[in-house]
Subunit: 428 residues, 2 copies
């Protein structure tokens, strides 16, 4: 796809041509004509304007659990400062964040959910331009321990009530949910007894998922609901087939890729993409991890079993992480079904204490962050770029789907780049 930008002598050719010459991402890029006129309708011909991208349509996300203690004043002094530095870096790179709703923490005492605290964090993140996802409404791990005292019927009722309550409470703030997590293993999970495995065993996977989705849709009919799993084998594909045949309204397929044991590589990633692309549903890569230190040995089956006192980030590890991050994001972006990639976690030392962040524990920015920034806000982004309108007041712009802004003579107006080829008419 090569578009001759003949009317744009001042365009940032390097950037734009870079994007549109790369067929890999053609499904994410559109070339559009914008016709500019003044508020009085006069054609804005032969005029210099500046266009810039303000937002990606693609969801570049990251787990964001610190926001809750931060906005609820749990961080003090230096800790608070470090958190603020991290937020600045976070907001500069991402347009999407995953907020925790782990039932064991969110409602550790039955009837006392952390609605207020979580809502405060959600509002703050939204005010910083982030779209939010809630993680997760139903999961056998980190679930409410008090479910164990209930009958299966009561557990199911509590689970439905919880879904209805939280999805309703956060409507407008959080309209994307990991509705249910890790269903492939859910009924046969045998590490410890828990309420969710009990009801999944009794109802079966399909009936439980169906109930979870239907309750969440009832609470917020316009919510985007994901099923999410770390199992990327044919088992998950077979489960999805059963769910789809049963009419469960899955809006997107969530795929975890915690690569603590080493980068999948392009070949495995393409295999996974092929396996799940056939459902013709959006794919969300919900939990992406590449560590910048020691890899977890291959013989460890459950990552939670890897317990180390120290897990440092190393120079060689950070170099490897950066290279793998580039490869991973490029491979995923090249598949038209992928609509979201969420990094897990932003800073080192979170889940498993792993050096999985883009930032070290002492807030040093790693090469992976810089390299990803060069893609998301560089190669795949239209920085402020001068254009000259033609005799008809038109400019032709190419860019990734998303939000853009044109400014001219001290005035500015926003517009959206989607897949249509219609001319954008802008009065400025």
């Amino acid at each position: 796809m090569l578009v001759e930008l003949k009317n744009n002598p001042f365009s940032g050719r390097g950037i734009v041509m870079g994007i549109i010459n790369d067929n890999k991402y053609s499904h994410r890029i559109v070339t559009k004509t914008a016709k500019l006129s003044g508020l009085d309708g006069s054609v804005l011909k032969n005029t210099e304007v500046v266009v810039q991208q303000t937002r990606h349509k693609f969801l570049f996300g990251c787990a964001q659990f610190d926001a809750i203690p931060y906005v609820n004043n749990e961080f003090k002094g230096e800790e608070k400062e470090r958190a603020e530095q991290r937020f600045d870096k976070f907001i500069d790179l991402f347009n999407y964040a995953t907020l925790p709703f782990y039932w064991a923490f969110y409602e550790s005492v039955k009837g006392q959910p952390m609605i207020k605290e979580t809502k405060k964090a959600a509002e703050w993140l939204v005010s910083n331009g982030l779209l939010l996802k809630g993680h997760t409404l139903c999961w056998h791990t980190i679930t409410a321990p008090w479910l164990l005292d209930m009958t299966n019927e009561e557990i199911l009722m509590a689970q439905m009530k919880r879904i209805n309550r939280d999805v309703s409470e956060f409507e407008g703030l959080i309209d994307i949910w990991d509705a249910i997590n890790e269903v492939v293993i859910m009924p046969v999970f045998d590490k410890y007894d828990n309420g969710i495995t009990r009801i999944c065993k009794e109802l079966g996977r399909i009936k439980l998922v169906s109930k979870v989705f239907s309750e969440a849709k009832k609470a917020n009919p316009s919510a985007t609901l994901l099923i999410n799993d770390f199992n990327t084998s044919e088992s998950y594909a077979i489960l999805l087939e059963g769910l789809i045949e049963a009419g469960v309204p899955i809006d997107a397929i969530g795929i975890q890729s915690h690569m603590h044991q080493g980068y999948w590589g392009v070949e495995k990633t393409l295999e996974v993409l092929e396996r799940f692309s056939r459902f013709n549903l959006p794919l969300h890569f919900t939990e992406n991890t590449l560590v910048s230190g020691q890899l977890i040995p291959p013989e460890i089956e459950d990552l939670n079993d890897y317990q180390v006192k120290e897990w440092p980030s190393t120079v060689a590890g950070e170099d490897r992480q950066a290279r793998e991050v580039i490869s991973h994001y490029k491979t995923l972006l090249a598949n038209p079904k992928v609509e979201s990639i969420t990094w897990w976690d932003f800073a080192d030392g979170a889940w498993l204490g792993a050096p999985s962040g883009f930032i070290t524990v002492d807030n040093r920015v790693k090469p992976a962050y810089d390299e990803l920034h060069k893609l998301i806000k560089g190669e795949w982004w239209l920085k402020p770029t001068k254009y000259m309108t033609n005799e008809n007041g038109e400019i032709t712009i190419s860019g990734f789907f998303g939000d853009y802004e044109v400014s001219c003579q001290g005035k500015r107006i926003g517009f959206t780049f989607d897949s249509s080829n219609d001319t954008v008419k802008l009065k400025i």
Copy 2:
């Protein structure tokens, strides 16, 4: 379960008490009172009668592919004699046989199915007291090669037509079918291109299985239809859940256990039984293999890849096979959901040339055959046994579900042992 057989001074206490003392099989055993009278209604009191079992309700089966060339006079001279010796042994042990319907062989030339030859074999086997199963109506392996020249729509039509034709043709002779085989891998099977993988990929597993079952039911509404797989993992369980939720009328779950790489052992067998018992459907162990020679190395993933010139049966291997056969059959019989066990194959040198038979290539009967015979027609069987009726003409008998015969004063009458406890009234 201990029943005092006080009225039966002549009963074969050893045998009957052996059975009924063993709780493991209590779900397969019933204790019943039979009341005997003469044809004129007179009570047959204090009379000696002989009772014997004539058939197991449980399906003890085996693959039986030789019957087709045999009844169609393809065996001559010594080969024919050896086949006859094998049939004698076969019929003495089994009440159930699996006949081949591999599409590639059954209809190698489109429009010329081996109906006549196969029907002749089926009739002969039925006349020898065997219940029959057809294997298989839809499978990506050994399928008709001429499907490759068709569009997917045409392949599906040919598949449906084939099902309808063969299930209708054999109604009354064959009313049990492995309707579809190895669906877990079917759409992702990538060893070679074939028509069935093509349509399974396009339709999805659930839609294809649904169509296959519905066509077979249409052709023979009272047929017992199985789905059958070698994949005994949670993937198969998830597929079954999807099929059941989609309303596919599965009559029994078929589980293959080709143990060429070594006996599963009791623990794995119990795991598999637990995994599939939860569907509350009959379980048929459709393809059971334990070799009496070298095991296939664990690194071989597809058994078909193990190609050896000679694969001899050894003394140590035959001893091991016999012990494992006993353990395998006992483990399976102990589970109430299991209704059938089919051995694969009867004689050595069939699939893969493996020493998987109960009989060697030169017709020597292996210890496994004798040991299994001691169970099926010994421990689990009521041999001719004398009983004495009481004052009311009653005898009390315990035995495995199945068909029995009582004889008295040169006359004989058959009756069936099922799970009911009703008194059997017999006029003799």
